[in-house]
């Protein structure tokens, strides 16, 4: 890490030294006993680059803080017990209805605890935002290549956080023991029971007997408020430590290299900004919670295994799993060796695990294909890594298909379609969509790179037509300034690996695979405009040596000798 030098553009403000009154005295007292000033100095001068998309992780962090604050309040009143009781609270349509103590206390929080419903809704909306912002943060990191060395491990930690967040969400969703959460648990129970051989045993172990039993809420509660948050906080801390150790990535720009970070220091800029941003995020969540109902358990009623409501869906982050179950065609279940083999469950589960696994290890896949062992602190623009961007687009399309399938019934009723038709369309989308998205995205990226190259070499059309003294007409091309041009040429172009025998004179299958993968990644590429090309395009007395102008424009430009349209 010694190779990275932080050079702030802005002069860091001088911290007040002596004579600061009581604040100064207190600070001095602390410093003399803890030597904390070294830490403050180090962290205060830490530089972060400025780009809106770099704040997505912050949103996740802040919504997590909101979740912890509101969740703590809820634990004061929630009873994680499935003891049977009769509701006697304020909500009339449930008066006298038999339910578990968990549901009873969740209703008590909603109707009888002062501010309880608001806090419940804050907790739930914040949870939805938490996972949504993690998802967007991961997409940002993926599409800009921020997962490359040295950040592969942090990508994996982040992925673990994503999975933990989903687990937190699901265990929380299941706690109130209302009809919706019970239906969700029943689906999970089905997934577990669908596992060959061990499924039924696992289900009985988890639920303490036949579903639903009387212990699952207590167990989920322990997971939800103790185990999962503890692991989550530990990984979150590790994630942030790595952000500090690696320093933040930045987009290409003049003066920005792999060895520096250009931006603003934490003190005072980001301390103020981030602190303010926390309250903005909290504010947005509080507004949502104040005005919009979420998870109206009083409508759903207590859980009872017999009723299943129409429109039963999981929260959005589990939707892709629900959708996978809806998309799998029927007829995949059979009895063999006296066991039921539910491939209608096993296949979706395997597909989901493979999808997540691929996300988990992607940094290593790409690192192996490129053979690139260097550190990267300058981000890629998505278009400049067409194959990666196309893979990402394919993954997003596949995920979106599964996600959409989870609301197939709502699409059917709201657009007056048949639910079978919706399912068949989404099935086709899940299978063909990723390929279509891959090819379109790759072509769009390459097209954009060509456009960038064209702009770098020839400038952009200004629309200003000038008549020369000789009578000919030219269109004036505006040239980019050096700062703008830098952003368009500062990227790397990889070339496919040549298949060469190794030191023992052999070509192994692994080498063949790697070469094939490398070809797949980098066969279609647009190299950035080189210095020579730039000089050729802009130098005096040279004709436009570069391709890709239409003939008509070529005719306009060529007679000018290549220099009049500067």
């Amino acid at each position: 890490m010694t190779s990275i030098i932080e050079r702030p553009e802005a002069e860091a403000p001088a911290t007040p030294k002596k004579g600061g009154g009581i604040t100064g005295a207190a600070a001095n007292y602390l410093d003399e006993r803890t030597s904390i000033s070294a830490v403050v100095k180090e962290f205060g001068r830490k530089i972060f680059p400025d780009h809106w998309s770099f704040m997505l992780g912050e949103v996740a962090l802040y919504s997590f803080v909101v979740i912890i604050l509101s969740g703590t309040f809820l634990t004061f009143f929630f009873q994680a017990s499935m003891v049977e009781t009769h509701y006697e609270g304020a909500f009339v349509p449930l008066k006298g209805v038999e339910m578990s103590a968990a549901m009873d206390s969740a209703l008590h929080i909603s109707f009888d605890v002062r501010g309880g419903l608001l806090v419940r809704q804050i907790h739930h909306w914040a949870a939805l935002l938490f996972i949504a912002s993690i998802g967007l943060h991961m997409l940002r990191v993926f599409f800009t290549g921020a997962f490359r060395k040295p950040r592969e491990l942090n990508w994996m930690i982040g992925f673990v956080l994503f999975v933990l967040a989903m687990a937190e969400g699901f265990t929380g969703y299941s706690l109130p023991d209302d009809l919706l959460s019970g239906n969700g648990l029943r689906i999970i129970d089905g997934l577990i029971k669908g596992m060959p051989v061990i499924g039924t045993w696992t289900s009985f172990l988890l639920f303490g007997g036949e579903f639903p039993g009387t212990s699952i809420v207590g167990r989920l509660y322990t997971l939800h408020i103790l185990l999962l948050p503890a692991i989550l906080v530990a990984f979150l801390a590790l994630h942030l430590v790595f952000v500090v150790v690696h320093k933040h990535t930045q987009f290409a720009g003049p003066g920005r290299t792999e060895k520096n970070v250009i931006g603003y220091p934490i003190l005072p800029v980001y301390a103020a900004k981030a602190g303010g941003f926390f309250f903005l995020v909290f504010g947005v969540i509080a507004l949502m919670a104040s005005f919009f109902t979420i998870n109206p358990i009083w409508n759903y009623g207590p859980y009872d295994p017999s009723p299943v409501s129409a429109g039963t869906q999981p929260d959005w982050y589990i939707g892709f799993a629900d959708g996978a179950l809806r998309l799998i065609p029927p007829g995949l279940e059979f009895v063999w060796l006296n066991h039921t083999w539910s491939f209608n469950i096993i296949i979706p589960v395997i597909a989901l695990v493979l999808l997540l696994l691929f996300v988990f290890i992607y940094p290593f896949v790409e690192g192996w294909v490129t053979g690139d062992k260097r550190e990267h602190h300058i981000l890629d623009r998505p278009r400049n890594a067409p194959t990666r961007t196309a893979i990402g687009a394919a993954g997003v399309t596949f995920y979106a298909a599964l996600w959409a399938a989870a609301s197939s019934d709502l699409m059917a009723t709201h657009f007056q379609l048949s639910i079978e038709g919706v399912i068949h369309v989404v099935q086709a989308w899940a299978v063909l969509g990723p390929f279509i998205a891959y090819f379109i995205t790759k072509r769009v990226c390459i097209g954009l790179m060509k456009k960038d190259r064209e702009i770098v070499l020839h400038g952009y059309e200004s629309g200003r037509i000038v008549r020369l003294p000789g009578g000919e007409y030219i269109e004036v091309h505006e040239q980019l300034d050096d700062y703008e041009r830098w952003k368009l040429v500062d990227y790397e172009s990889f070339e496919p690996i040549m298949l060469r025998p190794n030191s023992r004179g052999k070509i192994t299958p692994t080498m063949r695979l790697r070469s094939a993968m490398s070809n797949w990644f980098f066969e279609d590429r647009i190299a950035p405009a080189s210095r020579t090309e730039l000089e050729a395009a802009h130098g005096h007395g040279h004709a436009d040596a570069v391709t890709s102008g239409t003939p008509a424009r070529g005719q306009l430009e060529d007679p000018t000798g290549g220099n009049t349209h500067h």
Binding site: L117, A132, S133, K273, L280, M288, T293, S309, L410, Q416
Partner: protein
């Protein structure tokens, strides 16, 4: 001479006008009295032959094409023998009948007949063969036990109509409609007659009091807005997820762009 002759005249000059006015009042008033008597009869006595005849005419011109001249049904529509007045009141009273076109199921559309005409057709259909009658007003007041109704609703109805009565999808383009804004009488008749794809909940299955409780629950949900704020269509986690992504995260990204724009 002129004065005398006028005095001797037995009739006042305005007598003709008065006579015409009296005549008009008597005939018009008589007509009005007569027609209001018929209207009153239509409401109270659905079995009066006059009403049944009126219903028969309406049936012949609006329904018989598909259901047959003697309710026997055709290839295009089912037999109506034994469906009862309740069924007619539901199907015609919610605008589902007459059908605009064949499809997965009859769509709700603007009602085409007045209440009297609907009642006349119901009386006609009921007169051919007995069937479930239009429910008594006392069961439609939404004054029963909402808690019992809610429990019955979750067990019997929610799998198609959704726990909050927001509706849901069935197979092959059929669907269970939304239950908000539906008249209590139509809810009752639907349970009683099982229109379209809905099963019949007869009085042995759900007693009239149970049906009243279910109506009470639905009307409670409809008339008491959610304590949590806007309901987002009562569609559950899908609507909530879309809202969180589009408006929640959308607003936050807007703030992020604003925050980073200010520094430059």
């Amino acid at each position: 001479m002129a004065r005398r002759s006028r005095k001797a005249n037995r009739r006042h000059p305005l007598a003709t006008v008065l006579l015409i006015a009296i005549g008009l009042v008597v005939t018009g008033g008589g007509y009005a009295a007569f027609s209001s008597t018929t209207a009153a009869t239509a409401e109270t006595d659905t079995s009066s032959q006059q009403v049944i005849d009126e219903g028969e005419k309406l049936f012949a011109s609006n329904c018989a094409t598909c259901h047959g001249m003697s309710l026997q049904g055709t290839d295009d529509g089912p037999s109506l023998i034994g469906v009862g007045a309740a069924s007619v009141d539901f199907q015609v009273g919610t605008g589902r009948m007459p059908l605009a076109m064949q499809g997965p199921q009859a769509m709700q559309k603007p009602v085409q007949f007045t209440d009297e005409q609907t009642a006349a057709m119901a009386a006609y259909v009921a007169s051919i063969s007995p069937g479930p009658a239009v429910p008594d007003e006392s069961l439609l007041q939404a004054d029963g036990d909402a808690a019992n109704g809610g429990e019955l609703f979750r067990i019997n109805c929610a799998m198609c109509h959704n726990v909050a009565g927001a509706g849901g999808a069935l197979t092959e383009g059929k669907y269970a409609p939304e239950l908000t804004g539906v008249l209590a009488s139509h809810i009752y008749e639907a349970m009683l007659t099982g229109p379209q794809n809905m099963p019949v909940f007869n009085d042995d299955n759900l007693t009239p009091e149970d049906k009243r409780d279910i109506i009470t629950y639905l009307k409670y949900v409809e008339n008491n807005p959610s304590p949590g704020g806007f309901e987002l269509g009562n569609l559950g986690p899908v609507a909530e997820g879309l809202f969180a992504w589009i408006f929640g995260l959308g607003a936050i990204i807007g703030l992020m762009v604003w925050l980073t724009a200010k520094s430059n």
